[in-house]
Point group: C2
Chain length 230, copies 2
DNA sequence: TTGCGTCCATACGCTCGCGTATGGTTGGAT
DNA sequence: ATCCAACCATACGCGAGCGTATGGACGCAA
């Protein structure tokens, strides 16, 4: 009855990326100082001897983890939505992805909380600015001028970040099911206004001016069957 | 020339609240695990011997600090705006206070980042829910029904929290001066809609129905001379 | 078989923070 | 003057994490 040891995916040696992944997991769960060599080694079923073969010290692991994070953040998140031609749909997708996933959002909050570490701060700043820049281009594609696009992008990004915070700190205040879809619809409708009717100086630009073509696209904020995993 | 020791406010013994204040400062700067006995003692110019006279252990200090924080949060922040009769002006004040102060916001982010600690989580949850509840009543006073008030309050609160995050993580993306006032004006105008013209189901309620009187108050979102200390 | 490089275990010293034990120094009441 | 309590310093043991120094075990090529 002694089950034969399955050698298929047991432990064919660890790689540096395995350590980086584990470091990110620990980060999401316990913050920066959860990225500790000995606890991680125990969790991976090895000892420190393994770690100090792959990395020179703890900071090297932290850097590897942050680089892996930045790579995921830019490749996966943005590249997956980047092929959407309609800027309106792009923003909607970002919002839906962000509020559905929550896992990467939670990781962001954990990493950003350690902004006192200069290395962490460097990565967080880059990732955050890139996200914002993406939103800015979306709003510019919708016909907003640079200043207005900046404001709306910041507005939307702040709302998105705040939703992550609410979901983490007071999950009871974040609705689910139909109420969540209503909430999402409200935010989307509010944060992506029709270009000429936006806010201040309403009569300045009568309608979408930028020749992006896709300007007054579908604008159907229904079929919001989000809600993947909590 | 040996200057006489100024006995006025030198060190007439420390109180437990002194320790709690120092703990909150440390928390804002370095997170939860910056609330360490010996480092705090060094910063206060004493030794651990002093600490363990006032508190039984580290957790007692943490609890005292969190209680002090909750007290500040409810007394100072809410009580200072609570005497404003107009609900519209109340929301505006909350937004302006929040975006100007930043010190209490930064502290919130630092504390909330340690949500893995059950004690911290308890306090964060209470404070956060109370803030939200306050906003909900504001929106209800504006004439929104319960569900809609919930959605708008959550929306506004999320935006506010996200602004804190942006200001901390990428301060370069947060404008200052006139541009900041524009940004504030945009958010206020967007997040406090006129009651009948709000969003979904526009024709349901023709105008402010709740007899709150102050419904269609001033709505002047000018004179936004915010910007106190960065 | 021998040799070498990869990957990891074991053992050690160091630092730092927690908690305890104990003694010392004040100020005020009697 | 005396005594007690408030307040703090000093010294110790403990655990945990970092980094180093080794010494295996294992695979693979010559």
């Amino acid at each position: 009855m002694k089950a034969a040891i399955d050698r298929s995916d047991a432990k064919p040696s660890l790689t540096a990326e395995d350590w980086a992944r584990a470091a990110l997991d620990a980060m999401a769960a316990g913050g920066l100082d959860a990225v500790a060599v000995e606890p991680l080694a125990r969790r991976l079923g090895v000892t420190k001897g393994s770690f100090y073969w792959h990395f020179v010290n703890r900071e090297a692991l932290l850097r590897a983890a942050l680089e892996l994070w930045e790579k995921r953040e830019t490749e996966d998140v943005l590249a997956r939505v980047g092929d959407e031609p309609d800027p309106y749909a792009r923003i909607v997708k970002v919002f839906k992805e962000a509020n559905a996933g929550y896992r990467s959002g939670r990781l962001y909050l954990a990493i950003a909380a350690a902004e006192d570490n200069p290395l962490v701060r460097e990565f967080v700043q880059r990732v955050s600015e890139r996200r914002m820049q993406y939103l800015v281009t979306c709003y510019e594609a919708l016909g907003f001028d640079a200043a207005r696009a900046q404001h709306w992008a910041r507005f939307a990004y702040a709302t998105f970040m705040g939703n992550l915070q609410i979901r983490r700190d007071t999950p009871a205040l974040m609705p689910s099911g139909a109420a969540f879809n209503e909430y999402l619809k409200l935010m989307i409708k509010t944060l992506i206004p029709r270009t000429g009717v936006d806010d201040l100086a309403a009569a300045e630009r009568p309608v979408a001016i930028d020749g992006a073509g896709t300007g007054t696209a579908s604008h159907r904020s229904d079929e919001l069957n989000t809600e993947k995993s909590s």
